[in-house]
């Protein structure tokens, strides 16, 4: 297997480090260089810990979204569910005086429940998940307003254990938890039977069903997981802001989808990676922070963000096609997604 020691080590690294990650890391480094040139204060440890502490909520949502996209579904309700579960946590903490761990469970429980409804309707009734979760987005948002009376709830320092940077480290427990979520998500997707079934369902659901696998309940699980993670996102966000805001997470589903797709997850299902999604999250967060730090005007921010997202996906498509071409001497046969 090994010709010379050196070659084999190099080969090993190339084998271990997915070339996909290298591409994404390249984009990240490119952005860092760009912003360093544009702003004197960008390149500092502070900036990176700031970014790290901003991402836990989006990370949780994006991991859940990756799962849902894997099975060929979509979940537009994640942002609203984040708000709803954050609101639920605010209410049980502040108004009912529950202890923190139970409040966290409540938040995640609410998320899981909503996810279950999404999954049940979309898989048992065979209603496209796009539309089920679009409706759920409205319902969850309405419920969030209702339980908070449309008021932001200030929670205060109770949540600091989650969102206060760890001394000497600069990053928060929330970030560590998000990182663990990413790793667990990655292992679930690549190493477990559930993950395999998810990939298979996203590729050809009928074939999986005819292999004697209960595809419907797997789809329900996946939506429940996405809901749970949205709940977790709600916890992270409420902790970061010390408040529960029923308006939280508006349009965040789009960022989560963008993160997953930038990371190479297919919207048609069957292809995706949680680690790559995390890179996508970092790219989006870096862009947001960098542009704010440079002080770009609002219109330009929008134009730049939009263009970078498309450019990143275009680059990824190109890389993929090129890689496929090198491996097989031609472009892949799979018909393109419209």
């Amino acid at each position: 297997m090994s010709d010379t020691g050196g070659k084999s080590v190099w080969h090993n690294i190339r084998q271990q480090v997915n070339p996909e990650y290298l591409g994404m890391a390249g984009v990240l480094i490119g952005l860092v260089v760009l912003f360093t040139l544009l702003s004197d204060h960008f390149l500092s440890l502070r900036t990176f810990t700031t970014i790290a502490n901003q991402v836990p909520d989006l990370t949780a949502l994006a991991v859940g979204m990756t799962f849902v996209l894997m099975i060929g579904g979509i979940d537009l309700s994640v942002g609203a569910v984040l708000a709803l579960s954050g609101a639920a946590m605010g209410v049980v903490l502040v108004d009912w005086g529950w202890p923190l761990p139970m409040a966290i469970c409540a938040a995640m429980g609410v998320g899981a429940l909503v996810g279950f409804v999404n999954g049940a309707i979309s898989s048992w009734w065979a209603v496209p998940s796009f539309i089920v979760t679009l409706g759920m987005m409205e319902v969850a948002r309405g419920a969030a307003y209702r339980i908070t009376n449309s008021q932001t709830k200030y929670i205060g320092s109770q949540l600091d254990v989650i969102a206060e940077p760890i001394r000497g480290l600069g990053i928060t427990p929330a970030f560590l938890a998000a990182a663990v979520t990413v790793i667990v998500g990655h292992l679930v997707l690549t190493r477990t039977v559930l993950g395999r079934y998810m990939t298979a369902i996203g590729t050809n659901e009928e074939a999986v069903r005819l292999s004697g696998i209960n595809t419907r309940s797997i789809k329900v699980y996946v939506f429940v997981i996405a809901g749970l993670l949205s709940g977790l996102g709600g916890v992270f966000q409420s902790a970061r802001l010390s408040s529960a805001d029923p308006n939280a997470g508006i349009a965040m589903e789009l960022s989560a989808i963008a993160a997953a797709v930038i990371g190479g997850t297919s919207l048609m299902g069957g292809r995706g990676s949680v680690i790559s999604t995390f890179f996508g999250v970092l790219i989006i967060a870096l862009l947001q922070t960098g542009l704010a730090q440079v002080g770009v005007s609002e219109p330009s921010k929008r134009i730049i963000t939009g263009s970078v997202i498309v450019a990143a996906v275009m680059a990824d498509t190109y890389r993929r096609r090129y890689a496929a071409g090198r491996r097989r001497g031609r472009k892949p046969r799979k018909p393109g997604e419209a």
């Binding site: 200030y154 970061r240 730090q293 609002e298």
Partner: protein, 304 residues
């Protein structure tokens, strides 16, 4: 024409029907406004019927225009509106008035020029956002060492929103007067999360700033979290606007210096009373400016 007949049939039943059209009820300010109106209605149920509506989104002009049309078409006698835009709503208001509906403008003043062009005048009841923001800015300025090169940043709402522009100008007025430099202005979209991201980035870029002025309290809460995360508690002062419930905690904790109370609940009530006066007496009372009160930790403890 059709409009007057349907209005006629409504009034013939006795009680006038008043529609309150607001911006987003998702915003606590308007939720409070709605509650004030509903409480007032509960106490005066014999005098009028009330329909409260808002839009899904602060910025949804089209929906507000639709609401005016819908309320007109169902024969309301008066519309009390907090317009999402100072110009674009004028033609719709004119159409409503032509259909015989009494229109009262609250909160955010419709543009005088456009009203003149449309050939109408609409009574206004509401606060002066700019003056209110200036007052808040003045409180802050007193706490910053004057003249010693103090630097501040402003987080505005949605840049196209009239309120946001007024408040930003009020803040800028105050800072200019106190000779304090505004080093950056960015938009937090009225929301807590985006404001938090913006504030964190601004703290990185301008580590030496002394204060953050936010055009509403939600964004102020986002800024509070950013300041905490950056370890700047006590060093960096924050002000907000609107006096929502949630800001009281940080105010008491000294994390926020001041906010402004526009008395949303009274605003709607004043507007409704205005409409009732016109409907009942036929006389148009003059415009009324409602007060803006400054809320600080002291005023809160006094209130208790």
């Amino acid at each position: 024409d059709q409009g007057t007949t349907s209005t006629g049939s409504a009034t013939s039943k006795g009680k006038p029907r008043i529609a309150l059209i607001m911006k987003s009820l998702a915003n606590e300010f308007f939720a409070t406004m709605a509650k004030g109106a509903e409480d007032h209605h509960a106490a005066n149920a014999h005098r009028y019927d009330l329909i409260v509506n808002g839009t899904k989104d602060e910025r949804d002009l089209a929906r507000q225009v639709s609401l005016i049309e819908e309320m007109t078409s169902q024969g309301c006698d008066a519309i009390v509106i907090a317009p999402a835009d100072s110009k674009a709503l004028a033609p719709a208001c004119r159409r409503a008035m032509e259909a015989g509906v009494v229109v009262i403008n609250i909160d955010n003043r419709l543009d005088a020029e456009v009203l003149a062009e449309a050939g109408i005048s609409i009574p206004f009841v509401g606060p002066d956002n700019r003056a209110g923001a200036k007052a808040v800015g003045d409180v802050l300025a007193k706490q910053l060492i004057p003249g010693a090169g103090a630097r501040v940043v402003i987080i505005e709402g949605v840049p196209s929103a009239f309120n946001s522009q007024q408040r930003r100008m009020g803040f800028e007025d105050a800072m200019k007067q106190a000779n304090i430099e505004v080093v950056a202005v960015q938009s937090g979209q009225w929301e807590m999360g985006p404001a938090n991201t913006i504030a964190a980035a601004m703290l990185n870029e301008h580590p030496d700033i002394d204060a953050i002025l936010c055009c509403n309290d939600n964004m102020a809460l986002g800024a509070v979290a950013a300041v905490k995360a950056a370890g700047g508690e006590g060093k960096i002062k924050i002000v907000g606007f609107d006096n929502i419930e949630a800001i009281h905690g940080p105010l008491r904790e000294g994390l926020v210096v001041a906010t402004a109370d526009q008395h949303a609940d009274r605003l709607a009530v004043e507007g409704i009373e205005h409409a009732l006066t016109i409907l009942e007496t036929g006389q148009t009372p003059s415009d009324r400016e409602t007060p803006v009160d400054i809320v600080t930790a002291e005023t809160l403890s006094q209130a208790q």
